[in-house]
Symmetry: C2
């Protein structure tokens, strides 16, 4: 199976690693909007090409993995590339998924390609766990917690504050809230009760640290609804201790069964990830395998993780899966 | 969607509850090998019929849910009933799944029905989590722990010991083993290091308790490879404190990503169930919905949970799922 990577940031580099780890896949080319001669990739002998030349590879790539941002890149890129390739993306603006789906579906159908949008872990594996658990326990409550992990959006927000040179923000689930949900207590939790936010900030020389802390803590949407801690550290400390991109989280469904709903059940799914982009990439690559197979079977149009039978993700045959994994 | 229940023990009663909780389903009949007049069910107005008369209902039932034992019932029942109905079972003898699959597949195809075997949580939801996590993290290790929960097989083994009037056995995962796996330490764990076994035993009057305890602890296959605790209690205590059928467990996959496998990830799925048969029944009923839809689309033959796209399990439409659950 021949794979292309469109966009070479953190996610694209993660895809490159995941393809290397997949014996049934081969990386054909990486496409970039930068000058290709300035982009150095890790896989020996693989072409780095200009995004402008992508259509020339239409016959050379089974699945194009699109690694762009959800705000402005993917809404344009995925439908455009679906006219020439089978495509997969990790579009994660939950509210705009229906619109993105329609656009990609129309483009993919018009050119007899298959596409899958919103692969990753949320949306992605967390969504799958919400769906399975809701189907199994129709009487119940859903809880999703994120972290401990780096939120890029919140880190960006810190860095826009006057006097801030650099910064990193961790989203942290509140232990007592996790414990209450895990115990089947079905708590009603406010935003503040579910997560705390911890910020590591490098201030510019002579900056007013008290003012920075106040501005961060009172920032609407990002921090004002949370208990937020701000630590001032040096650039060296930030680079040494906070250069990773860990993340993770928890999806719970708690529900009841029985003639009078007398029995309680707790379903919990959790992820603890050293590298958010590399794990996301690993999910995407498994789904790339799936849509390549579905396309070989003649399927076209857009899909999501909800539409893919699990067996399509595995390099093992149906017989091997039944014998060894069921 | 019209449902039949074939066999009315703990699992059959759980199915009855789960069908009641599913607005899109209607229970048509319960079939029993006992004298139907002696079987009282909970759903008002529903027929209890003899298993001998099941074929008369061939046109009245969309999916027959077969609630028999895996040792001798299901290998006979599921292929036989697949000749007349769409069927689903919870066959859980892992080693014999390939053989059972072939038998059911042949029967279902010959009569243009659809079947799904081995629905539940292990095999079932645990298997799905093993498959997904292996596809995502090809470099890694799998761990499955069961409990805390009642093992019917081990409870039966206790009750066969001379001098034992009644008994219940709990399988309990070892906390330190769970913690090590969760921390990504990839331990090599022996049988003894993974689970302990706790037995609550009601001795017959005058029985030799020391002999009973010794026989239990040294019983090959069941107890000798485990650290086993034996508590002698009264029948009243057993009825009062140990009449439930709780169970659950944990499925982990720990693995690495990155160019040099430098990043670790932990995927954990866990269940904490007040009622093992009612939760198993809830999984089966969701998959019954799925195979009914697949049959309406013209599909025939045998399936497992690996072959079913998740969206088929939900009563929600694809549009609703994308808008609200992705």
């Amino acid at each position: 199976m021949k794979v292309g990577i469109y966009g070479y940031g953190n996610l694209g580099r993660g895809i490159e690693c995941a393809v290397k780890n997949s014996e049934d896949m081969e990386l054909v080319a990486v496409f970039t909007r930068r000058d290709p001669s300035t982009v150095k990739i890790q896989t020996a002998g693989v072409t780095v090409a200009s995004a402008n030349d992508v259509e020339k590879f239409a016959d050379k790539i089974d699945v194009m993995i699109i690694c762009g941002g959800s705000a402005t890149d993917l809404p344009e890129m995925t439908p455009a590339l679906a006219k020439h390739f089978n495509v997969i993306d990790s579009f994660d603006t939950h509210a705009r998924i229906p619109e993105h789906f329609e656009n990609v579906n129309t483009a993919a159908k018009s050119s007899a390609h298959i596409a899958l949008i919103s692969a990753g872990w949320d949306p992605g594996m967390f969504s799958l766990n919400r769906l399975y658990a809701n189907a199994i326990l129709p009487n119940g409550n859903d809880y999703t917690f994120w972290g401990k992990g780096v939120s890029q959006g919140h880190s960006d927000a810190i860095r826009r504050v006057k006097g801030v040179k650099n910064g990193k923000q961790y989203t942290i689930p509140v232990d007592s809230a996790l414990a209450s949900v895990r115990a089947g207590e079905n708590p009603d939790l406010t935003t503040r009760q579910k997560h705390t936010r911890e910020c590591f900030v490098v201030a510019e020389e002579g900056a007013d640290k008290a003012a920075i802390e106040k501005e961060i803590k009172e920032m609407p949407n990002y921090f004002s609804d949370y208990d937020t801690t701000v630590h001032f550290i040096s650039e060296e400390e930030l680079q040494k201790n906070h250069s990773g991109i860990p993340h993770g989280g928890f999806v719970f469904r708690t529900g009841t069964t029985g003639w009078n709903n007398e029995n309680k059940h707790v379903i919990e799914y959790s992820l603890k990830l050293d590298s958010n982009p590399e794990f996301t990439a690993s999910v995407i690559v498994a789904y790339a395998r799936a849509i390549n197979r579905l396309h070989q079977e003649g399927n076209i149009g857009c899909r999501t993780v909800f539409d893919i039978a699990p067996a399509y993700l595995s390099p093992l045959s149906d017989e091997e899966l039944r014998a060894h994994m069921l």
